[in-house]
Amino acid sequence: MSAEPIATFESSLDEIDVDLVRTTADRFESALAPLLDAPAVGAPLPFENVSLPDAVETDPTVAELEAAATGVTAAGYGIADYGSVVIQGGADGEEPVSLYADEHVAVIAASDVLPDMDATFDRLAEDIRGGTGQAIVATGPSATADMGALVKGAHGPIDVTVVLLEDA
């Protein structure tokens, strides 16, 4: 993957106030540590040589989910033009983990950052036909303007941080 979508991805994230942390597989734990406000929940990460620290609860109860300050999941893709991440998966709990915590930390491989919606929908269509049941194109935190002014953090997270695995 050329550097170009990554640079665009970074500036798109910047525009929507989402922090980007660049790291590599071997430095992942130390890059993640400062992002983990306790209590933290997570869904197992699919990247080689990358795993979640023990402090992150991967099999939370309903109460633990609701109380979580941080929720860590992988993202299947990033979309450079929009600063979006695509949250895929299901049975491992990606959906509740990325929804209930105050802050969602999305971990993504640099090679999965796609330039635009066109490229993304080609991949998503392939995945869906291959059996991926769920894909959320998530752009920034949840938000609402229904209460008379724009508020970040409606039913979903108030904050989003993206961790980019540069060597994955």
Partner: protein, 736 residues
């Protein structure tokens, strides 16, 4: 409409202007400006719209086949599809599936259309709206006023007062943040207790059975994840062929609606999903140590609603409505909607410009008739629609059908004045305005007597009572000598041999009988630039009857205009038009009213006057032949339809070229809109809309500027609301 009904309608509108107008205006303005900005960032906006349109055309064409395909796909995935004939059928099915269990819902206009909450509650189920705006309305027991932001009519203060009264929190809630946190927590418990999650769907893909949901709050995701049973309700028109087809819509829908490049979440669910569930139950709160349950035996039901849609599909005029993706751009860009909102500009369920099509199709013409007249045909929505629906045309067609559906009594006074092609039963007020040409001819023949009589008290109150012509409006004053007569006596002043170009100046009814001055100015300006002018005696363009929904009359007017202008066009002359709403007829509506060849010939040779002057100056004519503006400060209001045709820049450029200092308005419409502002039921709304324009022309920078406007209606509105007297811009270029 009877005088009483007019009065009731005017009162209703006045009440909404007072109570909801400010909130609606503020919010729609943000959406409207957001849309202009966000779509401007797209390099391929037009191409995306074309693509979106093509996908919808194809999908609706092949709808029965796609419904079969999606049914098969969803059944293969383990879900169920039910195609409901109508609301009752849908509600019966959904009530059975829900079976008295607790349900949480995300926002869905289609579920409003079938009023499923009422049906579920009657069956003993608890239903909670989790979209925050829908939650507010559920508590307030009010109807949506906007298809995307349903509580747009409520201010933060009103919501806070409502919450404090209903929930009596320990600390009164005040800020938007506090209100949001409170609602999230309150609804969070409802979600924990729920066993059924209900959603709508913005799109459903036939190939994979995927639902696309465009949301921002995250509640739709929670409704699906937390529960064991997912019921999705969608109009049958939401089916598109494939997942790839979603791409243009995903790029357009947020931008077109609230002006966001993309909403926080575009969820692609291919249900039944396998996310761990909360399994429902009555616990909840911090002590809830429930484990998450496996999500692998979730039930999924897609309920596709027909409710009139398959008939709309067979209807050549209403079919386009089914392409609508309910983005709300046609509401946000509509001046009338911005001021009065969806509680007036809406029917049983839907609101805004396209609501006429939806209401006529799903609830019937009576529901559409309630608000259809609020579309003035200004056309500002036309370029905003992501699927390129001719929304004003749908409004016109439905108005025509409503006219024809009534078998009213013919009013003798109007009957004599209205040699139209319409059947009896057309509202006398509509026939009066629809036959403006005849009225103007008579008015001119008997001027100034006709003006005195018309303006006199007794005549005005009779007109108000019988025809609903508001007596607070000044009536147009007819000139004794029409422009055509003046020119016939005067003759052209540029010889055929010395002429740079030859033009036929179209004498629209207003210019011909009422504002002859701008017609004379146009002749002199063109002649100053060495153009030989002729004025063929062509009649009214059809705009007046069309705006009243009198399509047959409009068509016969159009044909007559074409016959009068065709010889000039055939001789290679250009047709120059002063009144933008008539040029817009030539350019847009004539495509539907004339033979294709005739339409193309006329449209291809027609120009707006200032556009034409611009072209002359670009092609060698000398601006020094026109008077020097000498830095005169001018405030220019272009015309709604003129802006839709992208013709505003020519006027600005010509005036600047001639030495004027120009600033422009950016309101969508002046609010007068032909006959609209004369109608007593709409007079106050018309003035309210006009005040926004007046505000822009009374700032420190604009208050002392000379006011010019291109449209007759805009001039009338500005004349009524400003102390300065406005004029057509061509008059600034007239040497005498």
């Amino acid at each position: 409409m009877s005088a009483d009904n007019r009065r009731r309608k005017a009162e209703h509108i006045r009440h909404l202007l007072d109570t909801e107008g400010d909130s609606v205006h503020e919010n729609t303005r943000v959406f409207n400006e957001g849309r202009y900005e966000s779509t401007a960032d797209l390099d391929d906006y037009e191409a995306l719209k074309d693509e979106a349109r093509a996908i919808k055309e194809d999908a609706i064409e092949r709808l029965p086949e796609l419904v079969d395909e999606v049914t098969e796909a969803i059944e293969d995935n383990g879900g169920t599809v039910y195609v409901a004939d109508d609301a009752a059928d849908a509600n019966r099915y959904i009530t059975e599936v829900v079976d008295g269990r607790n349900a949480v819902k995300s926002k869905s206009m289609t579920s409003e259309e079938i009023e499923v909450n009422d049906a579920l509650e009657a069956s003993g189920a608890n239903v909670w709206e989790t979209d925050l705006a829908e939650f507010v309305l559920q508590i307030a027991d009010e109807a949506p006023s906007h298809i995307v932001a349903p509580a747009i009519h409520k201010s933060r203060e009103e919501i806070a007062a409502l919450f404090n009264e209903v929930f009596e929190p320990e600390e009164p809630l005040e800020t938007a943040e506090e209100l949001t946190r409170f609602a999230r927590e309150y609804l969070g418990e409802k979600i924990l207790d729920a066993e059924v999650g209900m959603t709508g769907a913005n799109f459903v893909t036939a190939d994979t059975g995927t639902l696309a949901l465009v949301t921002s709050e995250g509640n739709a995701r929670k409704c699906v994840q937390a529960t064991d049973t997912h019921v999705a309700v969608a109009g049958v028109e939401k089916v598109v062929p494939s997942v790839e087809d979603l791409q243009p819509f995903v790029e357009l829908i947020g931008r077109s609606g609230t002006g966001q490049d993309i909403t926080s979440y575009v969820s692609l669910f291919t249900p039944p999903g396998d996310s761990p569930t909360f399994g429902g139950g009555d616990e909840g709160g911090p002590g809830d140590d429930r484990e998450l349950g496996p999500g692998d035996d979730r039930d999924f039901h897609l309920v596709l609603i027909d409710n009139g849609r398959m008939e709309m599909r067979e209807d050549d005029q209403l079919r386009e409505t089914l392409y609508c993706i309910r983005c709300s751009a046609c509401a946000n860009s509509c001046a009338n909607f911005q001021h009065v909102g969806g509680h007036a500009f809406g029917g049983e369920t839907y609101s805004g410009g396209i609501a006429t099509g939806w209401e006529a199709g799903v609830h019937g013409e009576d529901s559409a008739a309630e608000f259809n007249d609020l579309c003035t045909g200004c056309s500002r929505c036309v370029n905003q629609c992501p699927v390129k629906i001719d929304i004003p045309w749908i409004n016109t067609v439905v108005r025509d059908r409503i006219n024809r559906g009534k078998d009213g009594d013919l009013d003798f006074l109007v009957e004599g004045l209205t040699p139209d092609e319409e059947p009896g039963g057309v509202d006398p007020q509509k026939r009066l305005f629809g036959n403006f040409d005849t009225l103007a001819k008579l008015g001119s023949a008997f001027a100034p007597l006709s003006n005195w009589v018309a303006q006199a008290g007794p005549a005005r109150s009779l007109m108000e009572r019988t025809l609903g012509v508001d007596s607070r409006r000044e009536l147009p004053r007819f000139e004794r000598e029409s422009l055509v007569d003046w020119f016939e006596a005067r003759g052209p002043r540029v010889g055929p041999d010395e002429a740079r170009r030859r033009v036929a100046l179209y004498p629209d009814a207003y210019t011909n009988y009422v504002r002859t001055e701008r017609g004379k100015a146009a002749v002199r300006v063109l002649e100053a630039l060495d153009v030989r002018v002729d004025i063929p005696a062509a009649g009214e363009s059809g705009r007046a009857p069309l705006s009243q929904g009198m399509v047959a009359t409009a068509q016969s007017n159009a044909e007559a205009v074409y016959d009068a202008l065709a010889p000039a066009v055939a001789a290679g002359r250009d047709v120059v038009v002063i009144e933008p709403s008539d040029l817009a007829m030539f350019n847009r509506e004539y495509e539907r009213l004339l033979e294709e060849d005739s339409y193309e010939a006329l449209d291809g040779h027609s120009y707006e006057i200032m556009e034409y002057v611009y072209g002359l100056l670009e092609n060698g004519a000398d601006v020094d032949a026109l008077p020097d503006g000498d830095g005169e400060r001018v405030a220019y209001h272009s015309h709604c339809q003129q802006r839709t045709l992208d013709l505003e820049p020519y006027t600005t450029a010509v005036l600047e070229d001639a030495g004027f200092d120009v600033t422009t308005s950016d309101v969508e419409c002046c609010g007068m809109a032909g006959s609209f502002g004369y109608k007593s039921e709409y007079y106050e709304l018309s003035v309210d809309v006009g005040e926004s324009l007046v505000d822009q022309f009374t700032t420190d920078d604009t208050a002392d500027r000379t006011v010019v406007a291109s449209g007759t209606s805009c001039l009338e509105q500005l004349d009524a609301l400003l102390t300065r007297r406005p004029a057509h811009p061509v008059r600034l270029l007239d040497g005498r």
